[in-house]
Amino acid sequence: MKLSEWIFLGICALALGSTPAWAEADLKLPRERITLVAPPLVHAHDQIAKSGPKIVEFKLTAEEQPIVIDELGTTIPGMTYNGSIPGPLMVVHEGDYVEVTLVNPATNTMTHTIDFHAATGALGGAALMMVNPGEQAVLRWKATRAGVFIYHCAPGGSMTPLHTISGMNGAVMVLPRDGLRDKTGKPLHYDRVYYIGESDFYVPRGDDGKFQSFTDASDFLPKTLELMRKLNPSHVVFEGKVGALTGKNALQAKVGETVLIVHSQANRDSRPHLIGGHGDYVWETGGFHNPPEQGLQTWFIRGGSAGAALYTFRQPGIYAYLSHNLIEAVELGAVAHFKVEGKWNDDLMKQVSPPRPIPPDGIPQVKAN
């Protein structure tokens, strides 16, 4: 789109922004207000809808603050919804109405908005939600499609990739009203859900070879744009920072527990893999009315989308969940850890003989008990 077209759209948005009061009462549906939680956790919700459609209220606040993206202290001007990267996962059911209040505090310096991939019309809502610092807007959209869909900021022009990549992206999970099912219609239930938002950052290095740090978006933009245009990220991370989901913040599960892992990548392709585990049921493209793929080793999240994978843990220990471009995982940061407790299953895997010196005549020596 040309800049002039973006400006025209912005003017239309402002003109349409005011809604007559009588239109508010058009839906006679119950309301529910949700308090969002920071990823990787997800707010409490029913998997199978217990009642009819409702209007579900959420509030998102645009925040502009410097963020540290690795353990070297590399700082970039971050932009987030509610202070987290990714923004929080919102969960509703197909047929519900999502009513989002977007607040842009006066302390911010930039216009923000939000494009919901799950919504229909107005550039995902972005054309109706352009808020300047000091403003807020409320948008209601109908969740007509079941699946996991990203949302991201889209102010127009270079601001769209800059804001999205700087952290203003998240996802909505629209569950089928009767919950998740496999290809035969058998219900699938999860004991836990984790939301992992993957980010690609484009940070230049100085003459000394170290990553440069920035606190000002206007300083950062030309430098990061130069790298973005090469499509060559310096960091690929989960939850906004190298190591964010490791160590004390490793994800947890128990043997026998079924975990749903929602994975979004608002910009770039990713190939999640759970080392030591599998994707029992994977909605790779994110749409829940497509029967899930079964028994996968690695799945594909298209840039600009989200997917969901269901797995029942069967062995205790440490798992790594990563993007299986091993360079991105090991060198650029795209890895999370799971700590799983429970009983080891010898039937699934048993070390028949531990590493020991190769016997001279090839006959195995004493085996492990």
Binding site: D208, T246, V330, E331, K339
Partner: protein
């Protein structure tokens, strides 16, 4: 491409073998006087040494044995880790590979992102310069000198047929430590231990010469059978003990590995009498 050159170093009149990557300029040393290396003398004492490597009993992994060691000679060890400025002198004389771009900058910072090979090359250069024998410490010497700064890697998990118990215990143990900012800090920033050595177990892990070994133990915990050593992997000491491939300079991308990877790889040397 690596090039090998023989050069006559004018001031000392000694032939010096130098090598370098084609893109790295080879600089003749000004042979500035080498500052004397600050040493600490750690006097003999008896101590308990946790061996390093993979130990098993009846085929199950167990903690390494704790052995009583009675050191009888003084250990002469560098008070601090080798600094970037010191290492640069070795680079200037083309005896050490130039630092990779992610290394530290500034003269009073420890040299980091160095491999065991880098450390060994530096030790060889320093020995030539000073006429002394400098080398990396063995793991036992490092632990001896580190005293209270050594972090025992024993897990105190009963031997089990369930391999996950040790993995989870090690992960928990290494996660306990606060995540330190990985940027190298000036010499002395992590303070001295009881013997006067600076910066042990800060955010720089230190190479030792000790190879990774695998050893099975009998029911009494004594070595049973020969140990297998892999000298392609050496013991690295710091906030926790680990084993790193000898040509690795940056172990930060632990990635899939179970446990926490070292933030920075550096070293200090011991001087043999």
């Amino acid at each position: 491409m690596l090039t090998l050159k023989l050069k006559r170093v004018m001031k000392t009149g000694v032939f010096a073998v130098s090598f370098g990557i084609a893109s790295t300029p080879i600089v003749m040393s000004s042979s500035a006087q080498l500052d004397s290396v600050e040493e600490v003398d750690v006097v003999p004492r008896a101590f308990a040494y946790r061996m390093a490597g993979d130990f098993s009993q009846a085929g199950r992994p167990v903690d390494a044995p704790l052995v009583a060691v009675a050191r009888t000679s003084v250990l002469h060890i560098m008070k601090q880790q080798v600094t970037a400025a010191e290492y640069d002198r070795c680079v200037a004389e083309a005896r050490c590979m130039s630092r990779p771009s992610s290394g530290s900058s500034g003269p009073n910072l420890p040299i980091v992102q160095t491999s065991w090979e880098d450390a060994t090359a530096y030790a060889s250069w320093l020995s030539g310069k000073t006429g002394e024998t400098w080398r990396l410490p063995t793991d036992e010497e490092w632990v001896f000198a580190a005293g209270s700064r050594f972090h025992d890697d024993a897990l105190s998990v009963a031997a089990s047929r369930d391999p996950s118990m040790r993995w989870l215990a090690r992960y928990e143990k290494e996660s306990e430590q606060e995540a330190l900012d990985q940027r190298p800090r000036p010499t002395g920033a992590f303070g001295a231990n009881e013997y006067g050595l600076l910066d042990l177990s800060g955010n720089v892990w230190e190479w030792t010469n000790t190879c990774f070994i695998r050893q099975s133990l009998d029911a009494m915990g004594k070595p049973a059978g020969a140990s297998i050593a892999n000298c392609g992997e050496r013991v690295v000491e710091g906030e926790h003990r680990t084993f790193v491939t000898d040509f690795i300079r940056d172990a930060r991308g632990g990635g899939c590995a179970v446990g926490k990877p070292p933030s920075n790889l550096g070293f200090r040397l011991v001087r043999e009498e």
